[in-house]
């Protein structure tokens, strides 16, 4: 945490709201809080693209809009490509004198974990390789929530979803989650980070850092879903804090593909079961018959945390 970038609350509260009230996202949904944190952290005008999903359908119900800034939705898988087209237009029109030379615009694409880990994976990879100057944000609620809580490759092992139900024989999702943040970092782009909204200073500092780099940046942000995770809607921030305290969701950043920094190290690392207890989607893991699975998951979390600390040590 040696960055000089500071988040000044006084400035933030005086900023204009870019995602305005009246949208139809659920009470307790992590997404609008995260989006507002992101947009408050950026000083320049922004142009946004959003993948099909909760955020999109809840903020753009014609003839209304919750967006006080230019915003486009084209399809589910291509938010990164759509914004890369807009960024290409920006470069072309600026070069040709059709836009003021001093006009700085920040381009951001939002997608859920389905749009990012699964159906849009190739599109994000392509846009990162081409080096467009934009920020890609994965609002990660660990399943296809907009269509009714189906599993994605971000869904953790053991979680109940409607397409990985906890049954008599199979105890929820069988597979591990895809290491998306690391795969993004492996593109050797200037900036990739993992964040969570309870630690808004860390999140907003990461946004400022991400939009300041010359090239693409990716943020993977944990976004609780009270409906899909089965938790009370006033527990959203407490739950993401516990995700960080159990090291289930480490807050870290990777610069230029190799420089790892772990931004939060819990004084006392909590057992991952503490995090699971807060959500109904993991309830079956506490049956005696599934004890082995809980142990396996704890071992995996420990291994990943150790690897992360090792990566940080190696890159310092």
């Amino acid at each position: 945490m040696t960055d000089r970038i500071r988040v000044n609350l006084r400035d933030i509260v005086n900023n204009e709201e870019r995602l305005v009230p009246g949208h139809r996202l659920c009470g307790g949904c992590g997404e609008p809080t995260i989006v507002r944190q992101i947009l408050h952290a950026i000083d320049t005008p922004v142009v946004l693209s959003t993948a099909t999903g909760c955020l999109e359908v809840s903020t753009s119900v014609f003839p209304y809009t919750s967006w006080n800034v230019p915003w486009i939705h084209s399809a589910f898988e291509n938010a990164a490509t759509t914004i890369s087209g807009a960024e290409a237009a920006y470069k072309a029109l600026k070069r040709r004198g059709n836009l003021p030379v001093d006009e700085e615009i920040t381009f951001i694409a939002f997608g859920g974990d389905g749009a990012s880990y699964d159906i849009g994976f190739q599109f994000i990879s392509g846009a990162l390789e081409r080096g467009h100057k934009f920020l890609y944000v994965c609002l990660n609620n660990e399943a296809y929530m907009n269509t009714g809580i189906q599993r994605s490759s971000a869904t953790p092992r053991g979680a109940h979803t409607t397409t990985s139900p906890a049954g008599e024989v199979i105890p929820g999702k069988v597979q591990w989650r895809k290491p998306f943040t690391r795969i993004m970092a492996a593109h050797d782009i200037p900036y990739v980070a993992q964040a969570a909204p309870h630690n808004y200073r860390d999140l907003m500092r990461k946004v400022k850092k991400a939009v300041a780099v010359d090239g693409p940046a990716v943020l993977n942000i944990l976004a609780p879903c009270p409906r899909g995770w089965r938790h009370a809607s006033d527990q959203t921030m407490a739950i993401t804090k516990l995700a960080a305290d159990t090291c289930y969701w480490p807050l870290y950043e990777v610069e230029n593909g190799h420089k790892f920094t772990v931004n939060y190290k819990p004084r006392e690392k909590q057992p991952v079961a503490e995090w699971f207890k807060t959500q109904g989607r993991f309830r079956h893991l506490f049956r005696p018959a599934n004890e082995w699975l809980l142990e396996e998951i704890q071992a995996k979390v420990d291994e990943e945390w150790a690897q992360l600390l090792h990566d940080e040590e190696c890159s310092s």
């Binding site: 084209s74 807009a86 920006y90 029109l93 599109f123």
Partner: protein, 414 residues
Amino acid sequence: MTSNRSRTFVLGEKKEMVESTYLALDGANAVSHAMRQINPDVVAAYPITPQTAVVQNFSQFVADGTVDTEFVPVESEHAAMSACIGASAAGARVMTATSANGLALMWEMLYIASGMRLPIVLTVVNRALSSPLNIHCDHSDSMGARDAGWLQLYAETGQEAYDNTIQALRIAEDSDLLLPVMSCQDGFITGHGVERVGILPDQTVQDFVGQYVANYSLLDVENPVTMGAWDFTDYYFEHKRQQSQAMNESMPIVEAVSAEYEKLSGRPQPIIDTFAMDDAEVAVIVLSSAAGTTRSVVRDLRNKGVKAGVVKPRLFRPFPAQRIVDAIKNCKAVAVLDRAISFGSPDGMGPLFLDVTSALYNAGACDVPVIDFIFGLGGRDMTPPMVESVYDQLMQIRDTGDRGDIVRYVGLRG
């Protein structure tokens, strides 16, 4: 950026004819020259045979600084159209190119481009769709996209492909239309076939296409717009009706642009090209390169005293129904040549036949016997003897009054 604008173009403005320079070019090259002269703001494209030359040549123009377009070398055709949508929504003049499976991969985005009324120009070098894999010409690709809300132009020659590309941009960007346009030519047959192509001076093309200023742009940060909103049952229907109406009313715009380009280039730009149709008893309706072969056969038939003719629509979407009806209504037998099959339609008819017969029915001209010939799938050559056999069969219908099989094949073994 300005959020308001008057019309970008003044249609019907008087322009003198400008001499073209003649070059030996294949059709794909001819299109890339049109794109060079247009110098669009953004081109996002992905290579696929037989369109490859378009993207390759254009990349070279970018590398040499001949154009200052922002070229986005995407990782798929779906991404190509996605990036075009983002760029067009940001107010840029946008073009791309594809063929066959690439067009099929774009399919989802074709509807989104037209639904958002984004004036993107897509040049298609027609190729057969898989499976089986085949890289040669037929129209299964663009015909599969005929209901996607794009205008479609079909070129007979590399010259027409060049001319249509330039006109397509003006048509798409007309502020009364704002719909995407697909400009098609036959893969390999014209796409790779070298011919004499007349190229207008660069400045003439620049003046013709003018400067595009979008009504709404994502980059107009002072006037933020929400694009691609979520329409419930209470609005979607009306929006689709408006889109259909725009397509229905696009014909005068196509005509005006064509007339202006005709005057400028000295090359005729009819909506449908008719040859020897005034007194024709037997006629063929065909798109793209096969029209040339057909016309040559008709010349021979005319020399033998057969009253034969050819109709070649240059525009397929919107469908020039009345013009086609007027051209063939007095014929005694008509054949439609289709380079694609609409699988599962009655007897497996072709898309052109379906529209021609529908136009005749709706015009009350049901007396003309029309048959359909499926030809040339997967690049099978359409030779003069094959065309002659089509006219032979038409003459038989003319003489006997017996329509016989409605869907027939030509050039098929067995």
